[in-house]
């Protein structure tokens, strides 16, 4: 998995390298360009989260897991922690690969977009943080579906749907037209749009969106926990 990620990072940076006029693209700009590949990390995380609980049910190993001297809550929490560790690890691998490849191929010059020096790094990190929050929300959603429906397929499918149809939903149910729409998950997913103190449609702010996302995440976790705790494990 990590290997594919690193390979694609190298592939695309090479494409940028040969596709752009020489010495015009700075290294930080290249990192920024490559960040769309972070979708891959999101997909990996969703796949892992979708299977980590559902897989145990499919294999039947959940029976042997639940008869150890640990409460179900602890088992579910350890599963969640494993997923979170995976997302952090993948994000780190991605970031390192991006920076390493970019600085190998492109000169460290200032360009139109980024000022030279640590400012660029800060902006990249801020962007990555927003993307990571996006990833977390979808991954935890996938984790919940995996726990509730015990089916990895449904979890992957629904999460991908949210990931890619989110923009469409935002267009259909625009907060300006429907006041309730600003509480929808999709509309709040992209925190990057508030960058530099911008205000979203219908008076949405960074704090508002963050709070809405937080409530969704907590709701997902509580649902997963309740279902996992109460479930009768048969067959």
């Amino acid at each position: 998995m990590a290997a594919i990620l690193v390979f694609l990072t190298m592939l695309f940076s090479a494409l940028f390298y040969f596709g752009s006029p020489l010495n015009m693209v700075g290294a930080w700009e290249a990192v920024d360009q490559l960040s769309f590949l972070y979708y891959l990390v999101t997909i990996y995380s969703v796949v892992v989260a979708s299977d980590i609980v559902a897989g145990e049910f499919t294999w039947g190993t959940v029976k042997l897991l639940l008869i150890r001297p640990w409460t179900r809550t602890k088992i579910l929490v350890s599963k969640l922690l494993a997923v979170l560790l995976f997302t952090v690890l993948m994000t780190a691998v991605f970031l390192l690969a991006c920076i390493a490849v970019s600085f190998l191929l492109f000169p460290n010059i200032s360009s139109g977009i980024f000022p030279e020096g640590p400012g660029a790094f800060g902006m990249i990190m801020e962007d990555l943080l927003y993307r990571y929050i996006d990833l977390l929300v979808i991954t935890i959603f996938s984790f919940m579906i995996s726990t509730v429906f015990r089916s990895g397929g449904i979890a992957i499918g629904l999460s991908m749907f949210i990931l890619f149809a989110g923009g469409l939903f935002t267009m259909l149910f625009h907060p300006l037209r429907y006041p309730w729409a600003k509480y929808m998950l999709f509309v709040n997913m992209d925190l990057g749009k508030y960058r530099g103190g911008q205000i979203g449609p219908a008076g949405m702010t960074l704090g508002f969106s963050a709070a809405v996302l937080g409530v969704y995440v907590i709701a997902f976790l509580v649902i997963a926990w309740l279902v996992f705790k109460k479930r009768d494990v048969a067959a």
């Binding site: 294999w59 039947g60 190993t61 029976k63 042997l64 897991l65 639940l66 008869i67 150890r68 001297p69 640990w70 409460t71 109460k230 009768d232 494990v233 048969a234 067959a235």
Partner: protein
């Protein structure tokens, strides 16, 4: 029995929707025994076991394992238990050893030596480092037993453990369970619908049907009671004449069946022989567990 029971199933009811799967089941399991749990398909054996190990919630009542409630003190109750519920499902992409290691990490104080000891107990040392997907059903069953005994449980719960084992495997398992019960002082709780199997394996058998406890029987005491009158069949060449001569019992084909103790059996035999009736065979009709079981469950219908 003076000893504190290992398991106390107290008035347990399990309801799913309007269907009552287990109806006010109360059962104490004494320590150090191989305890059989017998019932036709659908009687509620697996449901009871699932409730004992916390895989299913208990609608009413409680189950205590070594005094700890499965409901409210799960971690303490379950730490004394090793179990296989139905088929032992393992991670197929791992080796047998890796599977055991995974489960060992989830219980405190299991050393690598203990894992290998458990492996040797079930005779898997030659294949333990192969992937589980290459194992036969019997080998998976053995690995399941190894997994269940890793942490030296006080109570070993096995749900239909002989399913899919060949005769040799069944025999080994049987002997092994006896050893466990004797040497490690573990109590073994085995469920099965195979009556003959239970007869050979268990000290005590509880019979359950339609979610209700029907009977608890202690086995292996029949042989001591040789002096007690028992139904005895005489195979003779002239059954009617034999019946007139003996003046009791009944006929079944060319068998005369009389209730008699040992000396009476000898007397009847002398009488028959002196009257010129050929006696081809005499045998005591022990009612097997199977007969008793079918009698108790009335043939057994699933509904």
């Amino acid at each position: 029995m003076a000893q504190e029971p290992v398991v106390r199933i107290q008035n347990v009811t399990k309801r799913i929707g309007s269907k009552v799967l287990i109806d006010r089941l109360t059962l104490d399991i004494p320590p150090g025994q191989v305890f059989g749990f017998l019932g036709p398909n659908g009687a509620g054996k697996t449901t009871t076991i699932r409730m004992m190990v916390g895989l299913m919630s208990i609608t009413k009542g409680d189950i205590l394992i070594q005094g700890a409630s499965v409901k409210s003190d799960f971690e303490r109750a379950i730490s004394a238990v090793g179990a296989i519920v139905e088929n032992p499902e393992m991670y197929k992409f791992l080796t047998g050893y890796q599977n055991l290691l995974h489960y060992a990490r989830m219980s405190p104080g299991i050393t690598k030596e203990r894992i290998m000891e458990a492996v040797e107990r079930v005779g898997m040392q030659h294949r333990i480092h192969d992937k589980v997907k290459t194992y036969s059903l019997g080998m998976r069953q053995r690995l399941g037993v190894a997994q269940a005994i890793l942490h030296r449980p006080k109570l070993l719960i096995l749900d239909e453990p002989t399913n899919g084992l060949d005769p040799q495997g069944i025999r080994e398992l049987r002997d092994y369970l006896r050893v466990l019960a004797k040497e490690e002082g573990a109590t073994v709780f085995v469920s099965s619908h195979l009556l003959s199997e239970m007869e050979l394996m268990c000290d005590t058998v509880a019979v359950i049907q339609h979610g209700r406890l029907i009977d608890v029987k202690t086995l292996g005491k029949e042989n001591d009671a040789a002096d007690r009158p028992q139904e005895t069949a005489f195979e003779v060449d002239a059954p009617e004449r034999a019946l007139r001569l003996v003046k009791e019992g009944r006929l079944e084909g060319n068998h005369l069946i009389v209730t008699a103790d040992r000396s009476a059996t000898a007397e009847i035999n002398t009488k028959l022989v002196l009257a010129g009736i050929s006696v081809y065979g005499i045998r005591v009709l022990t009612r097997s567990l199977e007969d008793q079981f079918l009698e108790m469950t009335g043939g057994g219908q699933i509904d």
